[in-house]
Amino acid sequence: MMDAKAMEGQDFRQEVRAWLKASFPPSLTGVSGLVFQSDAHAAAASPDYQLWRRRMQEKGWGVPHWPSRYGGADMDEAGIRILAEEMTAIGAFNPIRSFGTMMLGPTLLEYGNEEQKREHLPPIAGHERRWCQGFSEPGAGSDLASLQTRCVDMGDHWLVSGQKIWTSGADQADWCFALVRTDTSRKQGGISFLLIDMKSPGVEARPIVLISGSTHFCEVFFNDVKVPKGNLVGEVNQGWTIAKRLLQFERNSLSEVKAEITSLAPLAHRHVGTDALGRIDNPDLRARMIRNAMRHEAYMATVRRFGQESKGGAETPISALKNLWSEIIQQRSELLVELLGSNGLGWSGDAYAEDELEATRAWLHSKAFSIYGGSYEVQNNITAKRTLGLPA
């Protein structure tokens, strides 16, 4: 026997299913599960992808739980779950999902004023405005609260001076949400949360070359940058509270991963070979691959479990999950390079296949997973103190 609410659910499910069938370009099926970024990028550049993004945006389904006046769809938890299930069922995915939708958006919804929401949320929901995060500084890595970028009240505007680092995509970004120091007499208590237009005079972004060759991260210099008074989110010196909330969203998103695990076994069969019993023909490598894959499967089950539990209001031990995730993915990246043998040691050139070169870069990049968004060590400190209640 089914109650009225569930009936509605059924109707909505039919509606979603019909719309997805009509709107999701079949050519994009499974794109979210692609192993190699190069394939993913190619897909993202396709006209079908643009079309899919536009359609989702019109529905406001990229941020379904946001109010429609900010570009969302006023959808409730039940609806969101149905939408997610139906998308997964046909191999569809959310093409709007971004830094902005996952981190700044939720933060502005919680701490922004009406003007800030109307100004910034719709472009995020429409994937039209790119944001970067100006938090870390050369002297303030794990110890973020020791940041020094000064923000002085000049009466009709703020004057910002200082240097940020590890600002991902800063050279491409339109705007930056930054933590700045508005009070030098207190550590955490002297920080404010400021929205800065990257086109403002005095802002300079310099890409940093990483060991993977990536230039995605930047140093950002603020030289006497004038920022409108209205761009400060929340209260003055409330920035640390807001940032902690935002970092929760970030850790959430970091510990989020795509539902399917792509097994490395077929790759190993191809590159390493198989023994008489059809097993990967390298006992030591195989044993390590198996253990990593089992942990990966258990980790995915853990993400699903906390997804369920959090609906019941349970708190997710994000720091513990992030460390499990970085450890498992880093090992996986090393195993992939190892099974490629000398083909996994190339930097460029046609002596290596495209996916081989990418696997090598991905392994190098994976080293950052246990550093950014709160280092492995900091996450363990948080788990020990916050989750396990061990004394400082």
Partner: protein, 383 residues
Amino acid sequence: MAVLNDEQAMLKDMAAGWARDRMPVTALRALYDHGGGAKPDSSGHDPAAWTEMAEMGWAGILVPEQYGGSDFGYLGMGLVLEELGRTLAASPLLSSALVAATALRLGGSPDQKARWLPAIADGSAIGTLAIDEGPHHAPEKTALTATASNGGWTLDGTKRAVQDGMIADVAILAARTSGASGEREGLTLFLIETGSDGLSRQAMDQIDARRPAIFTLSDMAVGADAVLGEVGKGADLLDAILDRANAGLAAEMLGSATQAFETTLDYLKTRVQFDAIIGSFQALQHRAARMFGELQLTRSAVETALIAIDEGDADIPALSSLAKAMAGETLHFISSQMVQLHGGIGMTHEHDAGLYLKRARVAEQCYGGTAWHRERWARLRGY
């Protein structure tokens, strides 16, 4: 913790309370001889406690209602086993109410079900599984022979480490009716009564104070109706039984690991050395964080397997092996750290740490150890 419905939540609370009050670790300690091992006269469990468990309906959790059970499902049974695992409670619940009941559910004829399920459900009969003949889990290596003789069968051979074998009234026993050791083909399951002529039992004195048995069968005659399932086709049925056995045992191990961790965490918060609470030392904090992380992976694997069984998921074999392998590794890690972090006192028989350490090895080996399940998972997943 999986999201539970009201009945499940109630069952879990009930089990937690009972285990805490009626079966604390001291109840297990009472089975131990001074210095370890079981008391000479021990049956490896507390019959009075088993009666109470049956009265609470736990022996019938997996028995269909028509046979006097509650048919409450494997997740429900897992919740009880997890709570009992917390205090290392020794009982035939797993062997009888999960393993034997499952065997009858999946492979029993109407007559066999009618004869045994009600008795298992009310605890008046204890069932178990008798498979391995050597020290390592290897069902396909079954050598115990069943020879057809005047309408029935004659059984000859040995079974080692039969769980709760000394107290079991009935055993599901794997025998070879054809084929050679190593072949799946030719395995047949039999339902035998342990009181029958031709069967002798020897108790094994185990480090966890349990009392598994060695079964020796010589010219043991059973009727044709003793066959469980199909003659020569027992391997698949046996796998299905073992998948459920391992998921249930993994739940018990999860409970043991969880309690071992919590007890250790409490100690870290109180023990003082170098004028500081040792839980304030970062190296120990990070180790505690690692233990917590491993517990999360294990809980997810265990609950996923139990739910898959209740939902008849096709992936049950791999998920059960994942659960058992994760539980084995995690319980070893945490019970070893329980000893390590308690220091000298943790090395004494008077302290609980050693009891968790010992139970961990036994539980891991039972129905296939971590290495065995890793290999099985790997074959199923194509590694």
